[in-house]
Amino acid sequence: MSYKFEIENLNAWFGSKHVLRDISMKIREKAVTAIIGPSGCGKTTLIRCINRMHEIGPNARVSGKVLFNGIDIYAADVDPVQIRRKMGMVFQKPNPFPMMSIYDNVAAGLKLNGMRNREKLDTVVERSLKMAILWDEVKDDLNKSGASLSGGQQQRLCIARALAVEPEVMLMDEPASALDPIATAKLEVLIRMLAKDYTVVIVTHNMQQAARAADFTAFLYLGELIEYGPTKALFENPENELTEKYITGQFG
């Protein structure tokens, strides 16, 4: 059991708004860790601090450390672009590149960084689409527009795109929010499968999803980490009263 990430005293701001307060937590590798909490608690900010996407926003600031494989990604000599290549990210609303075909979408990460070898690209595209459980549905026409797929398929396409660059980590920001229940169920099965090879961190506002799909769950409230532990324990017998109130639906 080792830790992929060790977050130490992470703070984040949007201008003067203190969005994350002193977050410290260790994230296990090859497991699914869910971050739950009411709207505005900072969970999206937290996940975006992990791949250094938060700092791109206007007036965004970060302090603290995030150790990835033991190295602080916020150190002065670290290139955020390299960090992001090691982490795949999937967003709330599926966002395949609109003017590209399915094939080009999946290959985008590689092509945009210079890979040209057609054979290699073919292999990677097929492998990624298989991992994202989308290959069988699209293999007959990879030149179709990415935007012509259904919501659930589009999201899996985005996952394939992220997987194509062979990251070590998959970060998912409410990936099932825009999907219907069946697509959501398929996605959750996929998430559990991904955890065999990747470290998965997922933000969700759906507690049941965290309960179903995650090995570990972290509860954030108003920017603070209230409780963090194995999902089973947190949902059966939470230690913190605030956690108890939140997960039994007494506020939210």
Binding site: M207, E236, N237, T248, G249, Q250, F251
Partner: protein
């Protein structure tokens, strides 16, 4: 903030409490009938059967709440505890029925030696109290009250084994009293056990801790 599941939980709670009251009545009636030598088998049978029906309904309710509301944390613990308690209350009724059947088959305590009478009366009183306590502490989710059941259970156990020893020692005149009183004492001891199980469920419900009160 009131939640959708709250109505269901209240309904379930009242079903369980009603079961408890009924179980107490059943046990009390059957013990009294054995001690005084009155035949109350038909009544006790009725009550016991009602308890089984109530248990079914209450269990159904609990399952409905699980299926519909996906409860977690304290809600989930309440449901788990209630389901166990439902079984324990049903057991109260079952043992009460057993006692009544013994009474019908071999008569009551009125034909037995005085010392047997006293021992069994003492045990019955204690055990009936335990049943009373188990129901009361469930109603109020009272952990302290539930913990007292541990002490009382020890006492009942003590009384049970001491009684057996004395029986061996004193070997009364007729077999009837020996056998019937041993059976009833055994049932009393089992009722006491179930009362402690109820206590354990109450502690789990309130604190999430799994303890053994025996």
């Amino acid at each position: 903030m009131s939640r959708l599941i709250d109505t269901g939980l209240e309904q379930l709670a009242s079903m369980v409490f009603r079961m408890g009251e009924m179980a107490y009545k059943t046990v009390s009636l059957s013990l009294e009938s054995y001690i005084e030598g009155i035949n109350a088998l038909a009544q006790v049978q009725d009550l016991s059967e009602t308890l089984i029906v109530m248990a079914d309904e209450a269990e159904d309710k609990a399952f409905e709440l699980i299926a519909r509301f996906q409860p977690v944390a304290s809600d989930l613990r309440i449901l788990k505890s209630y389901m166990k308690v439902i079984y324990d209350f049903e057991r109260y009724g079952r043992y009460a029925l057993d006692v009544s059947q013994v009474q019908r088959a071999s008569g009551g305590l009125e034909q037995c030696e005085r010392w047997i009478n006293e021992s069994i009366r003492e045990m019955s009183e204690k055990v009936l109290n335990m049943v009373r306590t188990s129901i009361a502490s469930l109603k109020s989710h009272n952990v302290e009250l539930a913990k007292t059941l541990s002490e009382t259970e020890n006492q009942v156990d003590d009384m049970y084994f001491k009684y057996l020893d004395r029986l061996v020692e004193k070997a009364p005149a007729t077999n009837k009293c020996t056998i019937s009183s041993v059976l009833v004492a055994r049932y009393l001891e089992r009722i006491a056990d179930h009362a402690t199980y109820v206590g354990e469920s109450i502690i789990y419900l309130a604190t999430g801790e799994k303890v053994t009160l025996r």
